[in-house]
Structure formats: C-alpha cells, structure tokens
C-alpha cells in the first residue's frame, strides 16, 4: 500500500460569483520512502497542492477530492487530529528560510517547539538535546553552541538546514519540500539537495519535492509530475520523462535546463 494516495484533488478560490480552480483533479501515488517531484511554473498549482495536503490552505480556498495518508482520509479529518499529523508524521520545508523562521526565537527553541508539540511530557532539556541532534544530522557545525543563535545569525544555506532539522526532529514519514533551494545560491543549492537525498536515505522518509526547476528534481526524485495551470500534463519515472518527454510543455521546460555543453559555450563567450 502506498503512503500517500491523492485522487481527484481540486483546490479552488472563491471569487465573487464563481470558483477559480488552481488545482484541477490531481491524481498521484507516493510509495513509502519514495521521492516524487512536482514540477511547474509559478501559478501551476504545485504549491497549493502541498498546502492542501497539509490542510493549510489560505482562507477563501476550498479543497475537494481525496487525500489518503497511511490509510487515513485527511480531507475528512477533524482539525484537532490533522494537527497531530501535521509537523509530526508529515513535515514541511518552505522556500524562504529567513522569513519562515521567527526572528524572535533561537533556532533551538523553534526546532524544539516542533518536537514538543507532538511528544507530551518532554522536558525542555530533552527537547534541546533533540534539537542539537537534529542540527548535527543536517551538518550544522558546532551545533551545541549554535542552538542558542537566532536565525539572522545564520547564512541562507544554514537557515535552510535549520528548517530541515526542524522537519526531521519528529522523524516524519513524509517530508514536503516546497522550492527548498530557490532562495539560495547555486553552490548552496546543490548542498541542500544532497542533504535532502541523504536524509531520505538515512530515515526512509518519503519526499515530495516541489520546484519550477527540472534540474533540481532530476537529482532527487525518482518519479515526476509536471503541472501546468492546475493540471498534470505529464507523469512517469524521472528517467522516462527526461528521455522521452511527451508533452510540448515538458519539452519546453527541459529546454530551459542548461546543459553542460551550453554552459561551456557560455563560458567561452563571456
């Protein structure tokens, strides 16, 4: 049985007299420990898909269809029980790590907060230890000291590591990463992707990677979903999609990915 089964997922915004769909009838399956890449331009509905799974859609948006997570129908779940899953069994990593971290609290506090929210009766001390361990696991050097630092004292890449540590602290079965590398420098992007792949290998968590950048998905995901205007235009294994893109839109996206020979040409010309 797959970990996550999505059928006919539709997300719509209520306009004055009609609904504007941003995700229209999405279907996909994600096996345990699988890695799915959802690719599309901005406005293709990929971020709304992730928020719909988390049950965090903005006010005015509605979702219909079915989202089954480990045998539980999430769309029918009362908010209290959804909250128990959110952040514990499904964790999320956002695009901009600086604005996604609260500037008023140390990173340790914010990581520990995620852990304590789902483990009743955990002392501050234990939670702090968990936070340090999580930070070590994402290769933040000197974690025992840096746990008391504030987000602004970290670099962009390090902040995203903190976000990943936060997601890892509860040992989730599914991690949703929404454009985790978009706000980062190119060299740092590669490191974060490597880290995500490593985390998946070590913990066995399934991963949904949402991005507009095919190059990013190609490194991590084994299954691909290409979205355009709220609909899936192409799906298949990563190898299939890359070697034999059937939809013109996918081909256009693929053409936008810089190839090694292109890069060399560019380097010469500059």
């Amino acid at each position: 049985m797959s970990l996550l089964t999505v059928r006919g997922l539709t997300v719509a915004f209520r306009a004055i007299n009609h609904d504007v769909p941003v995700v229209a009838g999405l279907d996909f399956d994600l096996p345990r420990s699988g890695a799915l890449g959802i690719v599309g331009e901005s406005g293709s509905g990929k971020s709304m898909t992730s928020l719909a799974i988390m049950g965090l859609l903005p006010a005015g948006a509605t979702r219909t269809g079915s989202i089954v997570f480990d045998g539980t129908e999430l769309t029918a779940l009362p908010e209290r029980r959804m909250r128990a899953i959110r952040g514990d069994r499904i964790a999320m990593i956002f695009q901009d790590p600086l604005s996604s971290l609260n500037p008023y609290y140390t990173v340790g506090t914010q990581i520990a907060e995620a852990y304590r929210a789902h483990r009743s009766g955990v002392s501050r001390k234990t939670a702090r230890k968990v936070a340090i361990e999580a930070m070590e696991r994402v290769h933040i050097r000197d974690a025992a000291r840096r746990v008391d630092d504030y987000p602004h004292q970290f670099s962009g890449g390090m902040r995203q590591r903190v976000m990943i540590a936060m997601a890892l602290s509860t040992e989730p079965e599914l991690i949703i990463a929404d454009e985790p590398t978009t706000a980062l420098d190119v060299t740092v992007q590669a490191q974060i992707l490597e880290l995500l792949a490593e985390v998946r290998r070590d913990t066995g968590a399934a991963l949904i990677l949402i991005t507009h950048d095919l190059a990013v998905v190609s490194e991590v995901a084994d299954h691909l979903l290409v979205m355009r205007r709220g609909e899936v235009v192409e799906s298949g294994t990563a190898a299939q999609v890359f070697s034999d893109p059937r939809h013109a839109y996918t081909r256009a996206l693929l053409d936008a990915v810089p190839r090694i020979d292109d890069t060399i040409g560019e380097l010469r010309s500059t």
Binding site: G87, F94, N102, P103, A114, A117, H152, M166
Partner: protein
Amino acid sequence: MTRYVVHRVGGMILVLFLVCLFTYMVFFLLSPDPAVQICGKNCTPERIDQIRENLGLDQPFLTQFLGFLGGLFTGREYGGGTSIIECPAPCLGYSFQTSQIVTDMLVQRLPVTAVVAIGAAVLWLTAGVIGGLVSAVREGRFADRFIAALTLGGMSIPNYVLALGLQYVFVVQLQWLPFPQAVPFADDPGQWFANFILPWTVLAIGYASSYTRLTRANVIDTLGENFVRTAKAKGLQPSLVWRRHALRPALTPVVTIAGMDFAGLLGGALITETVFGINGVGKLAADSITKNDQPVIMAVTLLAAFFVVVGNMVVDLLYSAIDPRVRAGAS
C-alpha cells in the same frame, strides 16, 4: 551590546545639551527683560541695572548659559547682598513671580502628572490592544468596521472639546461624577479616584484610537508572515501560534511606542490638566505662560525634552533586548 549602550547614551547627552542650548538661546533672544518685570511699577533705571547685576543678566550670553548649566550640576546662588537665595543642584532657575525655586515647583507637580500619565497609559494600552486584536480577527466584518469608525472619531475630536463635553454630560447633567476638586489621596481615596476618571479617559481616547489602528495593522501583517505558516505547519496549537508567533512580534512595536508616548506625557498633559484643573506639570506650564514666568516655562520645556530623550533611549535599549535583529544591526 556595551558599545551600543555607550553610543546611545552619548547621543542622548548630546541631544539634551543641544536642547538646553537651543531653548536657552531662544529665551535669551526673545523674552522680555526679566529685570524690568521684576522691578515692577516704581522702577528707576538704576534699580533695573542693580537687578541685572544681581541676576547676572549683564553678562554675555555664553557666561549666562554656562552659569545655568553649572546650576544644573552643582547648584547656584541668586541675588546679592542681604537677600541670597540658595538653589541646590539640579537648579533649574528661580521664579521671581512666585518667589520659588523652579526645581521645587516641578518636584511638587511631577507626581500628579505621573498619576495622570500612568492611568491614561493603562487605559489606552488595554483599549488599543483589545480593539486592535478584535479588528484584526474580524477583519472586514462588522466589528472591524465599527471599531474603525470609532477610532476615526476618537482621533478627530480635539481633547479639550471631548473634555468639556464629557464634563458637561457626566458632571453637570448626569451628576455621576463629583465636581473636580483637589483632594489628597489619604483623605478620600474614592473622591481622589473619581477626580481622575475623566482626565484619564479624555487623554486615553486619542491614543487608544491610534493604538487600535497600529495593533490591527501589525497583527494582520504578522499573521501573513511566513513564520506563522511554519508554526502552523509544525502542528502547534492555535493558541500557541497566536501567543508565541503572532502576538509577540505584532505587539512589540506597540509597547515600544507606548513607552515613548508615556515619556512624552510626563512632560505634562498640558491641555487635559488645564481643562480639569489638575495641578500637574502641564498646568504649571500653562499658568506660567499666562503669567509670562519664563524660568518656569523653560524648565518645563527642558524637563519634557529630558523625558522624551531618555524615554526614547530606554525604549531603544529595551527593544534591542527584545528583538535580536536590532541587537545585531547595532553591533
């Protein structure tokens, strides 16, 4: 952090010095000759010269200013011959019209003004924060619009109009409150408290209106922040999301501004104190203006500047303790 504090305190002292100099200069240049005022009707030019000499008014500006500054730190003496008046530090001058040392006059009035300011601040912060929160939670609904209309009204009515209106309704017509008269707290706490109800309300309404708007805007902004979404994604209880992640960032600036406004009020709530006949610093200033008692007016100006500048600094330092980003930016 230490460097930041030293830097701020240095800046504060400079501003205070400039305020002193500027105020002193304005009064030196503009005010009518105090010697003539003191001398009264049966005056001879010799007598005026005598007074000038006694007061040091024949000295050049810089000497007089330094004398004033010196008085602030070490105290000074006024007059000459048989009638020497001792003015201990911090000496803010001598009021010839009331024959009192200005510092004593201020010290007497300051507690009254503090009572006015504290009561009003408690009221406006409570009302402003609650009003702002309600508006933010019910954004765009009836409650929000109703509160918005109230705040516009609250900001538009000049406080003396409000003061007279409320006094007419509650004291003259309904007689719910006694006619204001100065009663020491120990004699009759009930009456004492009743006297302050209207001044507190009048002062608080204007501030509460702008605090409501500020709180509303801040809360709505903060709720849209990405870190609030992160907090929700962690599966935190809504009460925790609000308390830790929305309210603290949203209310910190509100409290900061409250600190500055409070400090500003300590320099005297001029209009409110005058209308209600409260013997605070503000009424002292207003009375001195009518009597043209320059040393007192100048002292109140300096006192008010002192509170504003010190208040700003304290708030800045507190803010840097609360908001880690400021600390980083400063060092």
